[in-house]
Symmetry: C2
Subunit: 740 residues, 2 copies
């Protein structure tokens, strides 16, 4: 009877989408300001949509080809199904749609925030954060609705209708087909994150190098042909890219937990599928609590702290989720011992599962906090870079690189403790559930993240429209908070990607029909080395791509200044769309190579060397990717705020230094180096580590040892243990029978 | 009877030391030039010895304390022995002595090379390369003599006199005690490489920032108080540091091969110890062939290529070693199958072992070649950085970072193929033997490496003494070749460190009494993450240390310019020794923290979480350390040569750019960032990955599972395999009996 509980999940998704629609309508209803502002906002919106259209065109080819391959491969091995192609397409389409929703609302909310800032900071925050909420709730709602509905369908088709075992091959097939959804979502994320990252930095660097440095006009000046592309970039990279990234993590953690949950034989009231169902319900519940919490993000007067308001909403969502998880887990999971007999099998209770949820939330919070410490103004790391700027460009760079490397220590220790702790709490299921717990409040996290670029854009529009100083001051307050949330959001994103990858890794090993990944074997160790190298070449390609695309942008802006007379005197309008086109084309072109590496590397290694070597490769990619991600994000963030600190003036060796000083110039160099670090290659690591893991998960049944389809080790291996004592020595006799 | 063959090894070492003494006497006999030159050379020699003395003082404390701890720990578990403390002290003393020998000859050969350059390039090469040979042959000779003699002693004490099994616990104890030698050697290497790296770059950066930039005097100008420290640094970092590093690798690879060789039951004519003895004999033989090859490094007229002469010597040593290895292996190892039953046991023949030697030599050659490509002038990588210098400091940095990351790809693929290939050839023994094969020609490699800083110093002395232009031109030719050999030497050093670490890793697992390192276990995976983070914090500390020490140097030089009147007019001499003292103190102070991490991290993890988690930690350190090492070495080398290219002029976008242009200034920024990368943190990775592995090897018996001393898995595990067919399905029945 209680199996109908499964319908609660898509219902929660639908509630989310309804709330999103209401909030979206409210934002649209707000005043969009005068015709000048509308026109500028129109340029940005048009540019953003131009990017989406160009991206979708390429993606359409990719999705069709990949779907055909998936459908074909689904017919090859027993228990697989070509239906996986359908769920892949749905995942891709929903992820793309989530990106569209975010971009659409962000390009509406930006100008309306500017207009609201004419009245008060309170109103401006309200509009910008509601815009962010639409994105956050929309992404989570689509994910919950999509995963929930597809699970119901596949569960009925592959398990209920066949009378299959919920712990056996039937359910495994249902989940394998569902994994297509995750692959679709993450594939889109690759293009959105990497392409978006290249887009935004090419525009940013290009606009700065010619506009600020050569022509001497301020940032966000309407005379700069690249300024619209720059503002579009904020939406493309930070809204659509971040949204697709978290959509992918969200979906993948749920999936991985479900895959591992299948192997737990559970005597519950949900037909034995409670461990499979639980991650879906936690996600849905987190969505509802995130919605409730958005209403607490408010200030009552202009002197109130915006950061405090955001923190309040965030903590309410987390605490509500923790509390409700306790009751939910207690309700759904059975009493007594649960066992997942893989990866050093341990028995655990339902309270262990709750413990894992708590650990996941703590890991996420700590990772964000450390990121903030390393990138915030006024703290030791940024101050040390400021000091080192006084001796020139080189020492500024050395300082930032050193800080970035140092900043990996605590997050890695937290992550390692999280892995170990959640494993002790509930085995490998615990590791996956910790990831799911951390992602439960994705809607809220993303609302806070998406608020940043909206505020940034609002400031840009205020500047470009020449609005009064107090308006710009209000948007500046929002923008400053947005910079902090951007940094903490990156900490959360990499943490989520790391835990997601580990959860997928755990799920992969089961599907691949192996019981261990032994790096003491030479080939597995070789796989580990090659895997760890991939984030380096991926980063190198991403950074180099920004450099190339920025050069194209520089040449185009120079051309317009030269060939279009009257730009400087506001008599002629620059051809904004040309710059938008350059960024769009470059980002599409440059993401092919990194994308190919992420998709092909696991396939080549998996098919050529088998599942255990692929496991080594995945571990290498994950470990090195997380480190390179944290290093690059934090170095970039610290450089950025070191530079920003000069705007208010900083004291170096007892002397105040301001904008325009030599030390400030050195800090600008660091900021420019940090741009591709923190907005292109750093965040791309998230996608790289998740996507390679999902690809491995999908091909796992095809490369499993012996070529046959081995779903769970416990179905194929019988282990008998016998302990005797001979001459006072303990002799353990283990008989392993392998059915190949 | 043929067991007495063992005495051949120390004999080879003695031959090496005799040749060294003859060559050293020849160098000392050469003309040291006029009084001015002698005085400058005296300052450098005095500074170098001041550093050694200060370093030795600290080391003495460390060695005594560590020896006491080792002796005490040797009494704790069965089969261990406090004698390990003795071999530890001998290893430390010999390594320190090798450093002394190198510094001593280098500080004599430098000025004599300058003097010889007055006559001809041929003579200058002869003096400088003979100086390098003294270092190379001395290091290898001490290692071969030390390891060879100690092995004879311990073999007789622990095996022959007790009548113990050469494949069993008796021999294991002998080798464990011998491991103390390797630990001693590598500990000294830590201080020499990290301390030396900090020393040389603090002096270099400090001298450049005030001298070249602020005071506008040329490099190596006698008026610069830091110039002597700068020249001392070349000896401290590149001679003593590199020497200790390779001494450590050389010893560790031999040791690891011996440890693995013990587990091979061999029916040979050497009392069953041929697989243990082989790596020692290969090392001794490689030393002799290196000596022979040094006589081929000659040019007959000034227009001959110095690089070609060095290459000729290098290739002769390699080819002779390959050829002789074939006959040696054929002579020593028995016919038929050899089996090392760990790490995926495979059977192999003696020709497989020869194959592994060849693979090792190929890996070393390829790694050096790739390093040269990525750091050489006129090739694509350096040219791309030059081009990106035209758009400013930031794009120069971005270019270098991107190139450095890209440069990891081929070396890692080569390394992975090497691991896999040598394993297929001869199991884990093959992996270790490949490392030993690669290191066989260490004497020659080091001779070529040490030649570089001697030539560099010779140029410095020529400049400081105001010698005629043609003298400086000749030393410049040598110096340019020295820059290339420095880069390829770094490639060789990191490759050797990587293979050494892997060999130690393989040996460690056996001693720790475990059979696998399964990263699918949550705690092992956590260890992998923490391990991979350590190279990041180690690099961060090293880079930051250089920054701090350079600031001290800058302040001291500024003080001298201010307080000592007449320096600029050559009327007063700067206080060189103050700058030497600053670099010395800073390097000693700053190496404590990284050193503590390298020594303590494996101990803490090993004792707290057991051998398998420590295995994960080691794998993480090795993988990430190799990547960070290659990345930093090559980025630094490429930046350096991009800057140097401006001296002759480079064409950017159809325009010639020279020294003093904006693009050149940007390239100087890259070079300064690259300095600590390529000379401090990058090469430190070698020591980090080897030292942590040796520490693990030493503590392995103390942390082995169950607390008991489990030397070899095969003594404790019986495996029976039975294959039957039921219903057409293959059923493998494996019976494992574990004697705990």
């Amino acid at each position: 009877m209680e199996q109908s509980f499964v319908y609660v999940v898509p219902l929660m998704g639908i509630i989310g989408l309804i709330v999103m629609a209401v909030k979206s309508a409210w934002v649209t209803k707000q005043d969009a300001g005068d015709s000048n502002m509308s026109e500028l906002a129109g340029h940005i919106a048009k540019g953003a949509m131009a990017f989406l259209r160009a991206e979708w065109k390429i993606l359409a080819y990719f999705v069709v080809i990949a779907a055909i391959l998936l459908a074909w491969s689904g017919t090859l091995v027993e228990h697989s199904s070509p239906v996986i192609a359908v769920s892949f397409v749905i995942g891709a389409v929903l992820s793309a749609f989530a990106g569209y929703l975010g971009m659409n609302i962000a390009t509406k909310a930006n100008v309306r925030t500017t207009q609201a800032a004419k009245t008060s900071l309170k109103d401006a925050l309200n509009v910008s954060f509601t815009g962010g909420s639409v994105m956050g709730i929309g992404v989570a709602g689509l994910a919950v609705l999509g995963m929930g509905s597809l699970f119901i369908v596949f569960y009925n088709v592959f398990v209920v209708s066949t009378g299959g075992d919920v712990n056996g091959a039937a359910m495994a097939t249902a989940l394998e087909v569902l994994a297509g959804f995750s692959l679709g979502a993450e594939s889109i994320a690759l293009f959105a994150r990497v392409g978006g990252g290249i887009y935004t930095k090419a525009a940013d660097v290009g606009a700065d190098l010619v506009g600020k440095v050569e022509a001497g006009i301020p940032e966000d000046d309407v005379r700069n042909p690249a300024t619209i592309a720059d503002n579009v970039g904020d939406n493309v990279g930070d809204v659509a890219g971040m949204g697709a990234d978290l959509f992918g993590s969200y979906v993948a953690t749920i999936l991985a937990s479900m895959v591992l949950g299948r192997e737990i034989v559970s005597n519950d009231n949900f037909g034995g599928i409670a461990p499979v169902l639980l991650p879906l319900v936690i996600a849905g519940m987190g969505l509802l609590f995130s919605i409730i919490s958005t209403f607490f993000v408010k200030i009552s007067k202009d002197t109130d702290s915006v950061q405090a308001a955001l923190n309040k909403g965030n903590w309410i969502s987390i605490l509500l989720t923790v509390g409700a998880s306790y009751f939910l887990i207690d309700y759904m999971l059975p009493e007594g011992e649960l066992v997942l007999s893989r990866g050093g099998s341990i028995a655990f209770t339902k309270m262990g599962v709750f413990g894992a949820v708590v650990i996941g939330l703590i890991v996420g919070a700590l990772m964000s906090a450390v990121t903030e410490y390393y990138t915030a103004m006024g703290k030791r790391p940024v101050n040390s870079i400021i000091k080192q700027s006084s001796t020139g460009h080189a020492t500024n760079i050395i300082g930032g690189l050193s800080i970035g490397m140092e900043s990996t220590v605590i997050p890695i220790l937290v992550l390692a403790a999280g892995i170990y702790g959640s494993f002790l709490a509930a085995g490998l299921y615990g590791v996956a559930i910790a990831a799911a717990g951390m992602m439960a409040t994705t809607a809220m996290q993303l609302a806070i993240d998406a608020f940043g670029p909206i505020a940034d854009n609002a400031g840009g529009i205020a500047e470009m429209s020449g609005l009064p100083k107090e308006v710009r001051e209000r948007t500046d307050i929002l923008d400053a908070v947005g910079n902090t949330t951007a940094a903490t959001g990156k900490g959360f994103a990499i943490a989520s990607a790391a835990l997601t990858a580990l959860a997928l890794f755990a799920a992969y090993v089961g599907l691949a029909g192996i019981n261990s990944i032994d790096i003491y074997k030479a080939d597995v160790l070789a796989g580990l080395f090659v895997g760890a190298m991939i984030p380096f070449i991926f980063s190198s390609l991403a950074i180099a791509a920004v450099g190339r695309a920025a050069m194209d942008m520089v040449n185009e802006v120079r051309r317009q200044f030269r060939e279009i007379p009257g730009i400087m005197e506001y008599k002629a309008k620059p051809e904004y769309e040309k710059c938008v086109e350059i960024s769009t084309k470059a980002s599409i072109r440059e993401m092919v190579m990194p994308g190919a590496i992420a998709l092909l590397a696991p396939m080549i290694v998996g098919f050529a060397f088998g599942p255990e070597v692929l496991g080594g490769l995945l571990a290498g990619i994950t470990v090195s990717g997380v480190l390179m991600g944290i290093f690059q994000n934090n170095a970039g963030g610290a450089w950025d705020n070191a530079k920003k600190s000069f705007e208010k003036g900083v004291e170096i060796n007892g002397k105040m230094e301001f904008k325009g000083s030599d030390a400030h110039k050195a800090s600008v160099t660091g900021d420019t180096v940090g741009d591709p670090f923190k907005d292109t290659s750093g965040p791309s690591m998230n996608i790289l580590i998740k996507l390679t893991s999902i690809v491995a998960l999908i091909i796992a049944p095809h490369i499993s040892d012996g070529g046959s389809h081995t779903h769970a080790s416990k179905e194929n291996v019988d282990i008998k243990k016998e302990v005797t004592y001979e001459d006072g020595k303990k002799v353990e006799k283990v008989t392993v029978t392998v059915n190949k």
